[in-house]
């Protein structure tokens, strides 16, 4: 009688083989849920049931961390560059979009500059509204065509 681990491995191998045949271009990862084992009244068998979620690799996401404190200080999402194309954005719009992340307080920060950046992105510098708050300026890049954040990073000497 095969043990649970062997059955799980068999299901995983079969699943990946079939899925890879269906989606040959995808890099797939199988995540196995907790298996269930029960007596099946119709099949008249002791049945091992395993469900699997198949994930396909879809890029990466970088978080910038202050090595001294371990606190995140910004991020870069390479997928944000996809279909990037310049469309003018209002400063209020840029601030509102950035303020939906934890890095930007929409009340405490203001847009100091906003211009077309590399590859057609919107590049803004956000600064604290009042001096002496210990808040560093941030560079925010946005893909205006898809309205996604590409990156937020502190400006100036590192963390």
């Amino acid at each position: 009688m095969p043990d649970t681990q062997a059955l799980r491995q068999k299901v995983k191998d079969d699943c990946l083989r079939r899925a890879q045949a269906l989606f040959p271009d995808d890099k797939l990862v199988a995540e196995l849920a907790e298996p269930q084992s029960r007596w099946h009244p119709f099949l008249l068998r002791h049945v091992f049931a395993q469900s699997v979620v198949l994930w396909r690799r879809a890029g990466h996401f970088d978080v910038l961390v202050d090595p001294a404190t371990g606190e995140p200080v910004g991020f870069e999402n390479p997928d944000g560059w996809r279909e990037c194309r310049w469309i003018p954005l209002a400063e209020t719009d840029v601030l509102a979009m950035a303020a939906r992340t934890a890095f930007v307080d929409g009340q405490a920060m203001a847009v100091a500059s906003l211009e077309q950046g590399p590859r057609g992105c919107a590049e803004a510098v956000l600064q604290p509204r009042r001096d002496g708050q210990g808040v560093r300026p941030l560079r925010v890049r946005i893909n205006p065509a898809r309205r996604v954040l590409i990156s937020i990073e502190p400006i100036g000497q590192g963390a």
Partner: protein, 172 residues
Amino acid sequence: MSDAQAAAAEAVVWDALKADLWNRGQADRVLTLQHERRAELDSVADEGPYRRVRFALFRRRCDYAAQCNATTGEELSWLFGSLLRGSSDEMDKEQGVALAQEAAQPPPEAVLEQADYQVQGGQPVFVVRWAHHHDGIPVERDYIQALVNGATRRVVAVHRKWHDVDPAPSAR
């Protein structure tokens, strides 16, 4: 990097992806974001003044479920449930049977019983079913069934209940 620091960094990933959904007017997708996407710590590298923590991102491709005989390990069924979505009746039946045959590998004693579209979940799904006949006699309850998505031409499920008939008289 500690577990707490890794968790804080991963929270940034979800925070930013959720912000994008809000910014694109797709706030309704925020609730299912972590069902549809997955982030996995990939690497940590010091870069200039920062530490760059890279997360590999994944998108949910599909779900799969399988059943085996727990005693012998014999496979009883497998199913890519979400791949039934969008099925249609545009595939011709010969192609459907050929695809099902390739996936299910019915043994010589299998007799084709059904090869037609059935409405399942409001959409037409091509169902191919074989019965088990031993020396011309039907074997009750034994069958092999395959489901084919008529739009994508993908076999999305195979169910199998089959046993080798022992013609020798039993003790009973």
